[in-house]
């Protein structure tokens, strides 16, 4: 593999890793702070992608679709938190798994009713449609740089929110000790709703910006969810930093696996997970 090819595959890996991070961060936040195992997290990614397709084809603008879609999915997430999830915070993990597993089926069927079972494409906006030429045969699409840029910006924003703001302080306190935080007069219900909405928003945005490169198709949420769980498990459950490192690692292994060892590529990520767990059974960054 020559150096130019290597560099582009590295960019591909980072871009995929960052996208996975957007999903895994929400998953691990919701688990770490509310103690909820949310198997339906991938459905929010799917929802984002379908919203992007629907809204972009109606409004003609992907940017507008992303803004509208984010708002809609956050409202949807908040409603779910209020109606369903709030009753499951103190329940057994098995109850949560049953609830969210059921939700996957409900969301898939709703998706089928509203949007059908076909595969849809979303066009890359003309502004971002070009490629940057690196050698005479290899080039890198601008849209992918844009995707990575959005992911990095959101990751930094998330970091600042959690570690530098008052709200972030309350979120961390809530994760550490529910009763004590409540006793201090902090509205923990409000904090939970915020965290849930944040997680849903991140997943939906990931789905929206991924729509032009991955297409929009049934069951896409379930596929990506499995990858997310791998990332969360490798990174250490509840750790956002761990999710970032693990997501980049999974991105690397998956991309280079596809190219260098195509016959076994689909299992390499799981091999990685097994190796990490043998070495660190709690994941890389268990808090």
């Amino acid at each position: 593999m020559d150096i130019a090819n290597f560099l582009i595959q590295l960019l591909n890996s980072v871009q995929y890793g960052l996208l996975l991070f957007m999903l895994a961060a929400g998953l691990t936040l919701i688990f770490g702070i509310m103690g909820v195992v949310n198997l339906a997290h991938g459905s929010f990614y799917m929802l984002g992608a379908y919203l992007a397709w629907s809204l972009a084809s109606k409004t003609g603008s992907l940017a507008l679709a992303i803004v509208l879609g984010t708002a809609l999915s956050v409202v949807f997430g908040l409603a779910q938190e209020r109606i369903l999830f709030r009753h499951f915070y103190r329940r057994d993990h098995l109850d949560q798994v049953l609830l969210t597993f059921g939700l996957i089926y409900i969301f898939e069927d709703l998706r089928s009713i509203f949007w059908g079972d076909e595969v849809h494409g979303v066009t890359v906006p003309a502004l971002l449609g070009d490629s940057i030429r690196l050698t005479d045969t290899l080039s890198y699409p601008v849209y992918r740089l844009f995707m990575s840029g959005i992911c990095v910006a959101l990751a930094i924003g998330l970091y600042l929110l959690i570690s530098k703001t008052r709200l972030g302080m309350k979120i961390r306190a809530g994760a550490f000790n529910h009763e004590m935080t409540e006793a201090l007069g902090i509205n923990i219900k409000f904090i939970h709703a915020i965290v849930f909405a944040l997680g849903v928003g991140l997943a939906a945005v990931a789905g929206m910006i991924a729509a032009p490169v991955s297409s929009v198709y049934p069951n896409m949420g379930a596929q990506v969810l499995i990858m997310c769980f791998v990332v969360v498990v490798i990174g250490g459950i509840g750790s956002v930093r761990g999710a970032l490192i693990a997501a980049l690692l999974v991105g690397l292994v998956d991309t280079f696996g596809k190219v260098l060892l195509p016959q076994v590529a689909s299992m390499l990520v799981y091999v990685l997970m097994a190796v990490v767990l043998l070495w660190k059974p709690q994941g890389l960054f268990k808090q």
């Binding site: 090819n5 595959q9 079972d117 076909e118 595969v119 494409g121 490629s131 195509p262």
Partner: protein, 396 residues
């Protein structure tokens, strides 16, 4: 998640099948003087259009011969298989057990076909496969009562290797979805291309139905092969051809493929498909009298342009007409019926073809090039292509 769902629903289907008595070896068929013909095809979902085209084709072929089979009236039955493999056995046994059909025509999806196949083998009901290319049906699991009028997944690509090599392509990269149809298409390409003298530099794949091609396209660009050969169909085919062009590969590395790459997607793909070369057993633009005649009649009857699926349905109808004419409508005379279906020549819009020992068409494959949004026929890529039928022991 899919797998867990599959296991559950397959299990349920099995229980259902067992309780309806499917697993009993012999079936007592109702006596009536009408022939009972069942369609098990997708009428909803992604393949709905294909199901309709096939049914149209079958009905048209029979109507042309007076609307009867071997002199007997026909009673029709229909089941929507939804292209849902987990309901394959259940749906097929509904036609066989409840409706007691004499002939089961179906289906499109290879996974569903395996369910039909199980029922056909156990009940002995005559099954005509109008599309699904899954190898097993006419290879290791072939059966005297199962006939295919379409193709095996490796058949179109068996014709791909030689014309590519003849164009000066020595090193090629193969890319497809990693699932049964993709793997089986690769088998045909690998065999024909290496036999002609070429080398498959690399075999690339991604899980079905993912369409994130970026890393693989980068790899293709850096490998600089003489050409890329592929198997994709439907929406993923559109995405692949568009991404291939957008990555700047189209003008540097020619793209070849199994003909399904460019079937029914040329409007959606637009200029990105121009110049793509494919091999298939049919093309709309095939310039033979039989095809012109068929296309005109079909368009008149259904106010629709026929496609390869309509042709396969039409040939299924023709096969039935010929078979039952030979036994004068006596479906019970299995030996003579199957013999007639095996030995007949089908005068198809795709050109004449015959049935192989394993009950799969021996047919010409056409070389086609996309020009101005149409599959233009350049000539015959390979004459009388037969599937190997490996492992088929019909009289065992």
């Amino acid at each position: 998640m899919t797998t867990r769902r599959l296991v559950l629903s397959r299990g349920a289907a099995l229980v259902g099948a067992a309780s309806t008595g499917l697993l009993l070896p012999e079936i007592v068929r109702a006596q009536s003087n009408k022939i009972r013909v069942g369609f098990m095809l997708p009428y909803t979902g992604a393949y709905a259009a294909l199901g309709v085209a096939i049914e149209n084709g079958v009905r048209m072929a029979i109507n042309e011969k007076g609307g009867k089979l071997g002199g007997r009236e026909i009673e029709w039955f229909k089941v929507d298989d939804e292209s849902e493999p987990s309901k394959g056995v259940e749906n097929a046994s509904r036609l066989v057990q409840r409706d007691k059909v004499d002939v089961l025509i179906g289906t499109v999806h290879s996974g569903v076909q395996m369910g039909i196949h199980k029922v056909a083998r156990e009940s002995g009901v005559l099954n005509i496969i109008p599309n699904a290319g899954v190898h097993e049906a006419t290879r290791a699991l072939c059966a005297p009562n199962v006939f295919r009028t379409s193709f095996t997944n490796s058949q179109p690509t068996l014709a791909l290797g030689k014309p590519m090599f003849d164009k000066g392509i020595k090193r090629a990269v193969w890319i497809t979805h990693k699932y049964a149809a993709g793997d089986q298409a690769f088998e045909g390409f690998r065999d024909s291309f290496t036999k002609a003298g070429g080398t498959v530099v690399k075999e690339l794949g991604l899980p079905f139905p993912q369409v994130e091609f970026q890393a693989l396209l980068t790899e293709i660009a850096s490998l600089k092969p003489d050409a890329v050969a592929c198997f994709f169909a439907g929406a993923p085919a559109v995405k692949f051809m568009k991404d291939y062009a957008a990555a700047g590969l189209k003008d540097k590395i020619p793209l070849w493929g199994s003909g399904f790459l460019t079937e029914g997607v040329l409007d959606a793909t637009g200029p990105a498909a121009e110049g793509v070369m494919t091999t298939l057993h049919y093309s709309d633009s095939l310039d033979i009298p039989r095809n012109h005649e068929f296309r005109l009649a079909y368009a008149k009857m259904f106010k629709l342009q026929p496609d390869v699926y309509a042709v396969q349905g039409y040939d299924s109808g023709q096969l039935l007409v010929q078979g039952l004419a030979a036994v004068k409508g006596d479906v019970g005379n299995k030996q003579a019926l199957y013999k007639a279906m095996e030995t007949g020549v089908i005068d198809s819009p795709r050109g004449k073809w015959t049935m192989s020992k394993a009950h799969n068409p021996i047919q010409d494959m056409y070389l086609r090039r996309v020009e101005k949004g149409e599959n233009k026929v350049l000539g015959i890529a390979a004459k009388a292509v037969a599937d190997s039928g490996a492992g088929c022991r019909m009289n065992a």
